[in-house]
Amino acid sequence: MTRTLVNVPKTARRGDVVEIRAMIAHPMETGYRNGPDGAAIPRRIIHRFTCTYGGEEVFAADFHPAVGANPYVAFSTVAIESSTLTFTWIEDGGAVHAATAEIAVD
């Protein structure tokens, strides 16, 4: 089970710039390390992060092996309507982790 931590203001006024933070517990194994037996540890990183707001993509990032464990992203968007923000982290091999948060806009 993967643990995520997202922080979105519960309420905002229409037109406000709101700060959004998202963090996921993930080892971000680079693929450049060897295990105790000398064998290469296969790469396993989150390579894509997206955030949609009301179904529309407002932020996306590609991650590479130099990104440390438990990646943390902070970005901003403009509050336009009460809706759901969906956060998606895509891992090597295709596994998808998701989290959602609600924002109320008046």
């Binding site: 643990r3 931590l5 922080n7 933070r21 963090m23 517990a25 971000m28 438990n70 943390y72 902070a74």
Partner: protein, 270 residues
């Protein structure tokens, strides 16, 4: 005149090594004196503003991921007794408030001192019929972080009962014992040289109120014992085994010499 025999380079190296060893083994000009209560400073005050910001903000502190894991483990039935921590202790917000600030503490049943992780494992074997969790295992770190988090902001208040006084005394002896090939004691750096630097890194007071900590170098959460093992290999000493009585004694002394500093769990360090 007879030419002077040239020294082979190996002999030169050996001679220099002896000089270096003598310099390191020479007694310090003044014996380190313990830090006075007024001078006590948490390790976070030695960190840069970015690291301080990371620890202060619960939505950015990566240690919070483990606290959340611990909250879930607290509710999860474990072992053949299928009993969760919460079944006996109830809501941790109340029952565990202030507990971490009092550890290590004396455990009458085993007749020995236990640190918080040791107490969690003792609970597992005695009440949950569950196997002990190994040191640094994610589940144990998460539970220790969750329980520690309930005491955040409270001052470290080590118990004053007589058996713990003996453990602390042993801890202080170990703390002041020179060890390893570098012949350094904890006190040589953390009592006598704090506020100086080792290379580019600040030498802190070695205060222990923030554990388990998320160390950026580790890219994960780690226990106080892991930190002490890192220091011991740093002075080329063979670290004590995980959970060894020596470590518990050192933890007990560290709690005493940091008494009054706030619990910061989960701390963030560089």
């Amino acid at each position: 005149m007879r030419p002077r025999p040239r020294l082979r380079w190996t002999e030169v190296v050996r001679a220099r090594a002896v000089v270096l060893a003598l310099a390191l083994a020479a007694p310090a000009a003044a014996e380190p004196v313990p830090i006075t209560p007024a001078e006590r400073r948490s390790g976070i005050t030695f960190a840069g503003p970015q690291t301080q910001g990371l620890q202060a903000d619960d939505t950015a502190n990566p240690g919070m991921l483990f606290v959340l894991d611990g909250a879930q483990l607290w509710q999860a039935p474990a072992g053949s007794a299928q009993r969760a921590c919460a079944d006996c202790h109830g809501a941790a917000e109340h029952s565990m408030r202030g507990v971490a600030a009092r550890y290590p503490a004396f455990d009458a049943a085993s007749g020995a001192a236990l640190d918080l992780s040791g107490r969690i494992n003792a609970c597992r074997t005695r009440h949950q019929d569950a196997p002990q969790l190994a040191s640094e295992e994610p589940g144990l770190l998460a539970l220790a972080a969750f329980v520690g988090f309930q005491s955040r902001g409270l001052p470290l208040a080590p118990p004053q009962d007589p058996p713990m006084a003996a453990v602390r005394k042993e801890g202080r002896r170990l703390y002041e014992t020179r060890m390893g090939q570098l012949r350094l004691s904890c006190a040589e750096c953390h009592d006598a040289l704090w506020a100086n630097r080792l290379g580019s890194s600040p030498i802190t007071q070695g205060q222990a109120g923030a554990y388990p900590i998320y160390r950026l170098e580790w890219q994960g959460l780690g226990s106080l014992q892991r930190r002490m093992r890192a220091c011991m290999s740093g002075v080329r000493a063979e670290p004590f085994a995980p959970g060894a009585p020596e470590f518990i004694a050192l933890e007990a002394y560290l709690a005493e010499r940091g008494a009054g500093l706030p619990v910061e769990t989960p701390g963030v360090r560089p």
